[in-house]
């Protein structure tokens, strides 16, 4: 049995649905907030994820960080050294997708060369008629950045636990990889 712990940073433009997704994941799909209430700092949520087919678990410390430009500098100081990244954009807002590069830059700065598993999330997939970003474009960009890609709808509670569950699994694999490497090393 292994208990892992990871600091999972959730970033992306304002109003793309970071808080909605974080709370939905944290409450096992029972809480969707229809009215927008802007996050002004970094909100911490904790959730323990069991890894399927093992007795191992990952305790996620989810950092839901404000997306509003003017608040970002203040938030960055609280990110620490993230272990995992969840980058969210709004499928109905092209600009929020374009801005993902800037978010990646910011994360790289505080991250000091660590490889961190990450996922790109296109949210609000329920608003099909207002869609501005094609899945293929998002998928391609994610791949170039070394991120997984998935689409969610917090409103319809579609696929919402996939991003963070996927990250927990990725962190678990990384641990096993590193542990095996150290094992080989120590045996000379």
């Amino acid at each position: 049995m292994v208990k892992l712990r990871a600091r999972c940073l959730v970033v992306g433009d304002a109003a793309v649905g970071k808080t909605a997704l974080s709370h939905l994941f944290n409450s096992d799909g029972s809480l969707f907030q229809k009215n927008y209430s802007m996050t002004t700092g970094v909100e911490l949520l904790m959730k323990c994820v069991n890894i399927p087919d093992t007795s191992d678990s990952v305790e996620l410390y989810i950092l839901d960080s404000a997306g509003k430009e003017a608040l970002v500098d203040g938030c960055e100081k609280m990110w620490g050294e993230p272990s995992l990244l969840c980058l969210v954009f709004d499928l109905t807002n092209k600009q929020s997708f374009t801005n993902c590069s800037r978010w990646m830059e910011r994360v790289r700065v505080c991250n000091k060369g660590f490889h961190i598993p990450g996922v790109l999330v296109g949210n609000k997939s329920d608003l099909t008629s207002r869609r501005e970003v094609e899945a293929s474009a998002a998928q391609e960009w994610a791949q170039n950045q070394g991120l997984e890609y998935c689409e969610t709808s917090a409103k319809e509670m579609e696929n919402c636990d996939a991003p963070l569950r996927g990250l927990a699994r990725a962190f678990h694999s990384l641990y096993h990889e590193r542990r095996e490497a150290i094992q080989n090393l120590s045996l000379g």
Binding site: V2, Y175, I182, L185, S186
Partner: protein, 134 residues
């Protein structure tokens, strides 16, 4: 003295922040670098070694992997609390082989040593052996 393991002298690891059943903290003091304790995510990470009796410590040698910065605190009381600063060191990154670092303490006696790993070169670090010289 460093080839006698701390555990055979009655020392114990009384606190460790991380838990992987296959790599328990006892591996730190068994005198064997083939076995190790592994951290399981996030920093800081810490463990505390308790000696069977007050022990003179002037040099602590730490065999590890991916540790970037280590701080050692000590105390002379019966409980694992009220520590005072001992020493600290920035370790070099050694890709492909273990780190081995000697840290000097001011040669006083201690009942507990607290090891705080504040930073690493990767998500996970391992500690293979801690030994002390009087």
């Amino acid at each position: 003295m460093s080839d006698i393991s701390l555990s055979s002298l009655g020392a114990k690891v009384v606190v460790a922040a991380s838990s992987d059943e296959n790599h328990p903290p006892e591996n730190i003091i068994d005198g064997n670098t083939n076995t190790f304790w592994m951290s399981t995510g996030m920093f800081p990470q810490e463990f505390i070694i308790r000696f069977a009796e007050p022990t003179m410590v002037s040099v602590v040698t730490v065999d590890s992997y991916n540790v970037k910065h280590l701080k050692i605190e000590k105390n002379t009381t019966q409980s694992a609390s009220q520590f005072e600063f001992g020493t600290e060191k920035e370790f070099e990154n050694t890709e492909g082989h273990l780190q081995s670092n000697a840290l000097s303490l001011s040669g006083s006696s201690a009942t507990h040593l607290r090891f705080i790993i504040t930073r690493g070169y990767d998500h996970f670090v391992s500690v293979h052996r801690v030994s002390v010289q009087p």
